[in-house]
Amino acid sequence: MTNPPPVRRSDSSPWNWLLIVPVVVPLLTFLYNSEEPRLFGFPFFYWLQFAFIALGVGTTTFVYRMTRPRTAAASATDAPSKGADDVA
């Protein structure tokens, strides 16, 4: 089979490493396994874990925006996303 010229596209970006943060932090039980301090009656254990939802959404939103494919002009130059993202 003859292959069409491979399209230079990639999902890789240094920003992706940030996604590790919201995966690891909510698993560290020692961070939040305590009743005090309470917030609006919620023990620490509960309100901090609710706060991790915001951490997760914040991080994925950030990574999504930083790695979004550039406009047609940018992708036409076929620039590897890595260099561009470092500047951005």
Binding site: G41, P43, F45, G56
Partner: protein, 549 residues
């Protein structure tokens, strides 16, 4: 008795009839030129945008059973049940980069199921069959659990007779209707109904978290009541925070469940139905809104403690059905018309995932068993027909499970389901990232992980239900010879062993120069997006396998 719940029953029935009507009309929604194609019936035309996908996947992952069982867990055991929150928080960043690769390669090659992908990637029909069978077996009890969710609501409304048949008549009626509109409309039916389901659930929960605490003396009082209950109880591992013995279980259960969820065929069906990579990425950002909802729902368990809810009796004498605590809380705290809406939310919440699950299981059967082993040259229309019929069979099976077996049995099966679906992780998830693994080693890893997982589950007793085996997923590390009371989630241990065997096996098979299977996918298949010239290419799996590139 049911006469006391007349208002609730009327409202529940009205809403149920409304969504059933929507289910049938859905066949004409975003009408395709030809519904007789598996892509149309089984994947809604692979054309859902961000909003529809958000409702569909949200409605698919956060099931009625979750809404009933997670608070029941907090009601019974406290903080350990809150694992559902970290689980659904870590899941999306974890799969963010993997699912878009699955979407791309599936669109290029016309894959409908995870087993299609495994077959194409590793060139091994046996491995694909294992993945397909694992998926079907893990999905079946999940569908049965949705019935348990509805049943908890019906029971609270007093709609339960004495005989087995009388007790189950409402469920059978509900499932016949569900089966009929899924047969007709395919994935479009749950996609359309999901709008109603999620709107109702959000409405009910927002009202619940404002209204019920105000009646019970505020959140502080609710947590204090829960704390007092657990302090008084003799059980060693309950409480409103974790202790040294169950932290490892909490962490591994959250991680294992997060790894497992997107391996379930029904989750993948939702993902593949979206129209481009951007839709998936945006959904990974927006789906955690449901995690917030789930966390709040979990806390209904503590509200039930504060409101002194007593769960209804279970199927066998002397046991209690803790799944009834949330419906009972609604019944007790809300005016009856709103309780009716809340019950409808749970009931409809069961229909959406049950429909998607039966479609996903049917697709697996059609693509990876029927087409692979019975009719190689099946046309897309024949595939669609087989899937439609299979979806009926799957639902009948789920109903029979509920009628003839102790409901506890399907809860156990669900527990096992999580452990077994995790064993497809190396082939499906790692397979999306790398081609390094050898097909033989992946099969060996599957066998090793599955056997170990089953053995571990068999070893776990349950003191509460007085069962010697399959009593939970928390495995005491002392069984491995460690001097500790700590427990660990079975799935994590089993999948680690699975990966280890796959790695070692690959090294051995490579050294022995055993040939790899042919990989019909190429690197750039994994980054293709909507509008790619090769995406619309005829399905590679139709007819003979595509020649290797």
């Amino acid at each position: 008795m049911w006469r006391d719940h007349m208002t609730e029953i009327v409202i529940f029935t009205l809403l149920f009839v409304l969504v059933s009507g929507m289910g049938f009309v859905a066949a004409r929604w975003r009408r395709p030129t030809d519904l007789q194609h598996l892509d149309e019936w089984g994947l809604g035309g692979r054309n859902f945008g961000s909003w529809i996908t958000w409702f569909l996947v949200g409605g698919d992952l956060y099931t009625a059973y979750t809404f009933v069982a997670v608070p029941a867990l907090l009601f019974g055991a406290g903080a350990a049940g809150f694992f559902a929150v970290p689980y659904t928080v870590i899941m999306y960043p974890m799969v963010f980069l993997v699912l878009i690769r699955l979407w791309s390669v599936s669109h290029r090659h016309g894959y409908v199921t995870p087993a299609d992908f495994v077959r194409g990637r590793f060139g091994s029909p046996l491995l694909a069959l294992l993945v397909a069978v694992t998926g079907i077996v893990a999905t079946m009890p999940y569908i049965a659990l949705q019935l348990i969710g509805i049943e908890a609501v019906l029971k609270t409304m007093g709609l339960t007779g004495e005989s087995a048949l009388a007790r189950h008549t409402p469920i059978i009626i509900a499932f016949v209707i569900l089966a009929a509109y899924t047969y007709q409309s395919g994935l479009r039916a749950p996609a359309l109904i999901a709008f109603v389901k999620d709107t109702l659930i959000y409405l009910v929960i927002i009202v619940a978290i404002i209204y019920i605490p105000s009646k019970l003396g505020g959140w502080g009082a609710i947590f204090d009541a829960a704390d007092a209950k657990f302090t008084a109880s003799p059980a060693p591992n309950d409480g409103i925070t974790l202790n040294t013995n169950n932290q490892l279980q909490y962490f591994t259960l959250a991680l294992g469940s997060a790894l497992a969820l997107f391996l379930y065929p029904h989750s993948i069906t939702g993902v593949l139905a979206s129209k481009n990579r951007g839709v998936i990425k945006r959904n990974m950002v927006a789906l955690p809104a449901y995690s917030l909802l789930l966390g709040l729902i979990a806390l209904l368990g503590y509200m039930a403690i504060a409101a002194k809810v007593k769960p209804l009796p279970g199927a066998t004498a002397g046991t209690v059905d803790s799944n009834t605590v949330v419906p009972l809380l609604f019944d007790q705290q809300f005016p009856s018309w709103f309780a009716g809406i809340a019950f409808a939310a749970v009931g409809i919440g069961a229909l959406v995932p049950a429909a998607i699950m039966s479609i996903a299981a049917a697709n697996l059967f059609t693509r990876n068993i029927y087409k692979e082993y019975f009719k190689r040259d099946a046309t897309p229309a024949q595939e669609a027909q087989v899937s439609k019929v299979t979806s009926l069979v799957v639902k009948i099976g789920a109903v029979l499970v509920i009628i003839f077996l102790d409901p506890q049995f399907s809860i156990d099966l669900q527990l096992i389901g999580g452990v077994i679906i995790l064993q497809t992780l190396p082939a499906v998830a790692l397979g999306l990232l790398t081609r390094w693994f050898h097909r033989g080693a992946l099969i060996a890893g599957w066998v090793a992980g599955m056997s170990l997982g089953m053995w571990m589950l068999y070893q776990i007793p349950n003191a509460a239900t007085k069962r010697a085996h399959f009593g939970g997923s928390a495995f005491p590390l002392s069984e491995f010879g460690f001097d500790t009371k700590r427990t660990i989630y079975v799935g994590i241990v089993a999948v680690l062993v699975n990966v280890l065997v796959a790695v070692v096996g690959t090294l051995i098979l490579n050294a022995a120069k055993v040939p790899h299977g042919e990989d019909e996918t190429r690197d750039d298949d994994y980054v293709a997006d909507e509008g790619d010239p090769r995406v619309q290419k005829d399905l590679a799996l139709d007819g003979e396998p595509a020649p290797a590139a």
